[in-house]
Amino acid sequence: MSRRWFGRDDKDLQEEVRAHIEIATRENMECGMRPEEARRAASRAFGNAGVTREQVQEGRPLYWLETLVQDARFGLRQMRRSPLISCAVLITLAAGIGVNAGAFSMILGKLFQVNVADPGSFASVEIVYSGEGARGTLPSRATYTDFLAFRTGDGVLGELAAWSTTFVSLDENNPARVRANQVSCNYFKVYGPARAILGRLLFEDECRKPGESPVAILSEELWRDRFASDAAILGKVIQLNREAFTIVGVASLPPGEHTPARIWVPYTMAPQLVRRQDLFAPAGPTWLNLSGRLRAGNSRAEAQAALRVAAAQQDRLYPRRTMTIHVTNGSDFERPGIAAQTFWPITLIMGSLTLILLMICVNASMLLLARAAARRREVAIRLSLGAGRRRLLRMLLTEGLTLAVIAAAAAGWIAMQVPAALSSLFKAGSHRAVTDWRLFAYLGMTALAAGCAAGLSPALESLKTDLATSLKGQEKPPGGIAWTVRDLLVAAQIALSLVLLIAGGLMLRAMQRMVTADPGFETRQVLVVWSPVRMPPYTRESASIFYRTLGDRVRALPGVESIGFATSVYSGNPVEVSLPAEAGKGMRLVTENDVSPDFFVTLGIPIVRGRGFTDPDTATAKPATCIVSENLARSFWPGSDPLGKRIEDKSGNLLEIIGVVRDTRSSFLLHGGDAQLYRPRRPQSDDDDLLIRFSGDPAPIAAAVRAVIRQMDTEMSPASQTLQSIVDGAAGKVRPLAGIVTVVGLAAVALVATGIFGVVAFAVTQRSRELAVRIALGAKGGDIVRLVLLTGSKPVMAGMAIGLPLAMACSQVLAKAFRNGDFRIQAADPVTYVAVALLLAVVSGAAMLGPACRAAASDPLAALRQD
């Protein structure tokens, strides 16, 4: 059987060929030749025995498999022969493929999976409202009445649970808040766990009437951390947002819970926690997320159809809005409207990782190429001994693939580690990475592509061998302008790294601008206090009185220098304004903030022209007044005085400019960098940020302010923070990202440096004879160094020329991708471009210098005597 498939073994064939030649020799001797002569004549008559054997073997059915094994073994032998190069190639390939595949598995997991138990029957109900209260095309939460309608009207969903999340304080004196999920009482039937660790889960009748069942279930984590795993905790009363709740159970975290909570309470207690009374009103607010379980044998499509019927009935009851229902498996990928949001981040992550992998392939290619070139003589011998070029090409390709296969095995391990490492870095991720056939298919394909990419150019290069010169050991130096494969690879690598580094540099610059740049106002000595009043107990009048009193009392506190109010310290409202003359067409988007008169003093934003607001300047005064930032003034009235000029807002109101203030630059406080429009705050505003300029330490001021607020309204639990701590918090959030960008950038630089070093070192070895002749003819060391650097920098320059437009295109894309983010990227940032180009030039110069100096210091006689 094996003979049928593999044919004869090689020994058998060799024996037959030997017999042939021997018999021919005998016959020749019988014709009177001398033995020596007879044998030579017989061999000559037979021709190249190796070729014959090769041809016979190629005729076998499983020949390819046999040679594959041979080639793989050959590849392994080659790797053993140059362990350093092989290790370098293996490690970089494994790391590149591994990280790439790991990120891929995370993205798959994030997008396509939901981490619940029994995901097959899980159903997430996404509602897109249109009409009144619509939030565009993004899915929204449900109103209580809609939830009830879906719940009673279903036959397809076995369970439908509703939940909403909020933060609560556990303790008056500890401002830290923990996440509490307000859930319908069948919530645990949908998400699990099946039973509590201690006590019980929620009873169905605890969700019957709003406000009647103040019970809470603690998460195991909270129980351990805050209650020291107290076994007698059941029945104890805790204060959540200063409301008494009785602890009835302790449970482990439900797997796949969308917002992992520390405490669960019946959603009927939400009015007490969030102090809103209208939650259960008909056509009330949309506040409930809906997830359920399919009844056995039903599909999500059936559930969706059933719910759409119920939704149509609800729409008839509440005709001012319409619902579109989507029943999904709960993964991000199936959420309506989400694809557009995830497109850019995924493109960026996979794009940069693929760029790195490409660079690694190029690098591996160069290393293998150097080895292949060093093996030219061997290849030439093989060719002249009758190896077919196709066979040889396959052999060299298999070598690259063998490397890739080994690297893929290691990469598999790395890929498994990536999700854990990344999620610990970002401290997030209830999402499980996908580790099924899709990951392995991706891994395999990436490895295959990488192996081919790494192996192909060396293979092609070695087949270009000119037999005669290679055998004699005389390589023609790469002459004049001719480009070798190596030069092209260097150019490619420089181009790739240029793209990567410029993108990374732009991101780092954006982050740096965001974190350290002077925001254009005081941050350390300004405290921002949020104490929103709840409208049902408060009316507009009582709210504005509350704020006015609060302002007066805080201003009187010792250590407080001034106070101001603004719509938001994070961002104002984006509004469109134009010059009155060109209303409708010359609309420009600016950021509007409604501020109190002392706002500019409090934040230390200098007024450069005109005056600030005074109390008579209110939004209702005629003519309406406004203050603009310098860049807004510049863009509307370049070169002329804006004072007294007017602009028109979208609804046709004319605003007279009474002052110009310095620009703010922080990209996430006050929406700096944009054109700013300040309008006077209405005294009856009810939901503004209070800003306090103080001297000395913030802690006592914050405590005093809290005491003032408590005194005025015991229900309120205000939060306060210095502006600087907001800046620092944002900095902490981008730090991991900055870390990743830096690591990727460093990897790129290291790859470029090693790649260029390898290529130049090899070129120098190859040209040693020529260089020796030059030295012998009187070239100085400096001349040699210059010569090597010049030839070496040719592909570097070319790479930059190719990479620069690519990088520009990429940064446009980047700027577009981060258009709405916390930090904004300036695509045209000459500093980054110049810095990256310089960095690459210096790194490649340094990488070339070593080999160049070695060439200059070499002894010409030794080099010439080499062969």
Binding site: E16, V17, H20, I23, R26, F46, T52, V56, G59
Partner: protein, 117 residues
């Protein structure tokens, strides 16, 4: 004696020639080559580089059957014997070859007659 130069084999005929030489009993590779050369009066030269792959093909097709035997001068050699399928194939190939020769011969002779007529 003036000798003509040896001819290259017509493509596709080597297999047929091998089968023909085996009609009179098993032979080894060298034997097959010399028989072809001798019987063609040294006009056909068998390239050994193609002889063995051809033998391999015939063997795989089941037309010849190899076995190790001893040569005239006591050397162990691999002998090839014609199988029943091989004989059938040879008969078919022979008649096909004769038809080709007749047809080509007719064509090559034809134009002269027409010109004469």
């Amino acid at each position: 004696m003036a000798r003509e130069d040896p001819l290259p084999l017509l493509p596709g005929t080597l297999e047929m020639l091998i089968l023909q030489t085996l009609v009179f009993g098993p032979r080894h590779g060298h034997g097959i080559a010399t028989t072809i050369q001798r019987t063609s009066e040294e006009m056909l030269l068998v390239d050994h580089g193609s002889l063995y792959p051809a033998l391999q093909r015939l063997e795989r097709a089941g037309l010849i059957d190899p076995h190790w035997g001893t040569s005239d001068n006591n050397r162990r050699a691999r002998y090839y014997r014609l199988t029943r399928a091989g004989r059938k194939k040879l008969t078919a190939e022979t008649s096909k070859w004769e038809r080709i020769v007749r047809a080509i011969g007719g064509v090559m002779a034809g134009p002269h007659e027409e010109e004469a007529g």
